[in-house]
């Protein structure tokens, strides 16, 4: 089984993140980047499938030079090869343009049996690229998988909702997005780190994919960040004074926030 995993290079969610004042895009200069943690689950899911049978895992990323680090991490975890689509024209692309570039890249890679993605990125957190990509590739979109099994040409997932758990089947080839419940991503081992050095990574430009510069980037985006402001510091929480009814008040508070 050949699997393509889409991975994104994102600013470290633990760090202080900001935007560029000039065009309201993410400031990548002043923050360390890394492979989106939600994509680690996708890489792990793909590795597990291939290790249980045979085939190859190819990781693809669309992003600036530093995004090579996201590919490297996936290769260190055990993926076989990488594709890095980079082009200055891509800067500021929205989900629609990103899905276009990814779709063309995946077509060029070949016809994988599975395309696996994380459920969202940890920076944009829109979670729409997987379905857009499935649409562009003409694949069934099987999203939010918290469990995944593949048997022959059939993939089965479990999708947990608020009120029900669904079991969904799809015929391969298919696109599957996975949640952070699906597995425990491995840490790259020392051997994995050394082996990654020798794994092939191809770099493609928009021209290599037959995508016009005008179809992507900030100007082509359907959505635009108009303004940004730092979130105000957290205000002090609500203090419940126990006057014999503390438990009740706590429960009411939690219920009002839909925690219980």
């Amino acid at each position: 089984m050949n699997i393509v995993v889409c991975v994104k290079y994102v600013p470290d969610a633990q760090a202080e993140r900001t935007f560029n004042a000039s065009d309201n895009t993410t400031d990548r200069e002043n923050v360390d980047g890394l492979l989106s943690e939600l994509d680690e689950y996708a890489v792990e899911a793909a590795l597990k499938l291939v290790e249980a049978g045979e085939g190859e895992v190819t990781v693809v990323t669309v992003g600036p030079d530093q995004a090579a680090d996201a590919i490297k991490k996936a290769l260190q975890m055990g993926a076989d090869k990488g594709v890095h689509v980079k082009d200055d024209a891509i800067h500021g692309s929205d989900a629609i343009a990103t899905s276009l570039v990814l779709a063309e890249a995946i077509k060029k890679i070949g016809s994988p049996d599975l395309v696996v993605t994380g459920m969202a990125s940890t920076d944009g957190t829109m979670g729409v690229v997987p379905t857009m990509l499935a649409e562009r590739l003409g694949l069934p979109a099987v999203t939010y998988a918290s469990e995944l099994t593949v048997d022959g040409a059939k993939a089965t997932i479990r999708r947990d909702g608020d009120v029900s758990t669904q079991t969904i089947e799809a015929t391969l080839p298919a696109l599957i997005s996975v949640t952070d419940q699906i597995n425990e991503p491995r840490y790259p081992s020392f051997k994995g780190i050394m082996a990654a050095k020798k794994k092939p990574v191809e770099e493609w430009s928009l021209a290599d994919l037959g995508v016009e510069a005008g179809q992507v980037g900030l100007d082509a985006a359907w959505t635009k960040v108009e303004a940004f402001a730092a979130r105000p510091p957290r205000s002090q929480g609500e203090i419940v004074t126990d006057e014999g009814d503390g438990g009740k008040k706590l429960a009411e508070f939690l219920a009002s926030r839909k925690f219980i």
Binding site: Q76, S189, F190
Partner: protein, 395 residues
């Protein structure tokens, strides 16, 4: 000159990530409970930490341009930055557990023990120190007597790391097996599998620090092991452990670097945020200069450590001499461990009363640091070795 490769730095990131996710959240509790986290050991094995200096045939990753002693030091430093006990578990697991078997073991001994030790399914200990023989390890009183096809061991060992965990498979012990022509003791190393009748692991010590590390006294009463459990050549035990300790010293030095690094980070953070007299305490030179000193200590300790590790890797490739490595190892261990102890004192001072509270990790580092100046050769022993290396007259 030497430098860490990109792969070493990538590996550092992974081990740091591992330590912060798998160790940091639990360590205060483990420390309070003096709990040895057996489940963590196979996870460390999966990461390849126990196999960095072990060839592939036993599940390791050693080889030119592959795993090396430097990468092991990186791993020990990064684990030690989060917790010293976990760092020593790796350091002793490889340096004292795996290393003697790998270096002196027969093919059969290696095949029997190494795969499990490398995978983290098992741990091994090395019993040299005795109640009456520490720095003067040659004064070993434990005896192994040959009876037919067995060695019969009698005696006691003190302070043996990783010797009593649920997964400890074997302890290599040094014992007298006879007398040399010059009247000195013939010392040999014998492997004693856990559970061998006559081999008792005493209850764990209650220690000032390293609460999460496993340390026991061992007693041997007519403990019988097959003659084939001899490690290497009979009578070579003294030479073997001297060499084992040289490597161990560099590893302890890396552990000390992790300790000092943690102190630097903790003190910098606290000095920037703790307010007294209406401003962050780090505004005062009385504090900021001490933090600056920490940075210098860390840098110096790290350079000496990785220089020694690099020499050791070069020695392995036949490009350096044993003498050079020995000397560098003693210098690194002496300097780094004393720097680490000083660093914990400074960091605790920066934290004020909070530094004395177990809620703050500096308190744990303060307790943990002292042993660095004692284990695998005290600071005095390092000075003896350095002086000897300089060719000074000996008593």
């Amino acid at each position: 000159m030497f430098e860490l490769s990109q792969e070493h730095e990538d590996f550092r990131k992974v081990v740091r990530d591992f330590a912060e996710k798998e160790v940091a959240p639990h360590i205060a509790q483990w420390d309070r409970d003096e709990h040895f986290p057996t489940d963590l050991v196979p996870k460390m094995g999966e990461l390849g930490l126990f196999g960095l200096v072990v060839p592939e045939e036993y599940g390791g990753s050693a080889g030119e341009g592959q795993g090396d002693f430097t990468s092991l030091c990186v791993a020990i430093e990064e684990l030690g930055r989060v917790d010293q006990s976990i760092g020593i578990t790796l350091s002793a697991g490889v340096g004292l557990g795996i290393n003697p078997i790998l270096t002196y073991g027969s093919d059969e001994q290696k095949a029997r023990y190494l795969p499990d030790l490398v995978a983290g399914r098992a741990l091994a200990g090395f019993g040299l120190t005795e109640p009456e023989a520490g720095s003067d390890a040659g004064a070993t009183r434990t005896r192994a007597t040959r009876e037919g096809d067995d060695w019969v061991i009698n005696g006691a060992k003190a302070f043996i790391t990783n010797s009593g965990t649920d997964i400890t498979s074997v302890v290599t012990v040094t014992a007298r097996t006879g007398t040399n022509d010059d009247g000195s003791a013939r010392i040999s190393a014998v492997m004693v599998p856990s559970g061998t009748p006559g081999f008792t692991v005493e209850p764990a010590y209650h220690k000032l620090g390293w609460h999460v590390s496993d340390t026991h006294g061992l007693t041997f009463e007519d403990c019988r092991v097959p003659a084939s459990n001899l490690l290497g050549t009979e009578g070579d035990g003294f030479k073997q452990f001297l060499k084992t300790l040289d490597d161990g010293r560099i590893a302890i030095s890396a552990l000390a670097v992790g300790c000092a690094q943690a102190c630097l980070e903790l003190a910098t953070g606290y000095a920037s945020t703790r307010v007294a007299f209406g401003r962050p305490i780090g505004v005062n030179q009385g504090i900021s200069f001490q933090v600056a000193d920490l940075a210098v200590m860390v840098e110096a300790a790290r350079l000496l450590t990785y220089k020694a590790a690099w020499l050791k890797d070069e020695l392995h490739e036949g490009r350096r001499t044993v003498r050079e490595v020995k000397h560098a190892a003693a210098i690194a261990k002496l300097h780094s461990t004393e720097a680490a102890v000083t660093a914990t004192r400074i960091a605790t001072q920066v934290f004020g009363g909070n530094g004395f509270m177990e809620e703050y990790p500096v308190a744990r580092f303060y307790r943990d640091a002292k042993i660095l100046e004692i284990g695998e050769g005290t600071s005095e022993v390092q000075r003896m070795l350095i002086a000897r290396g300089l060719g000074l007259p000996q008593a």
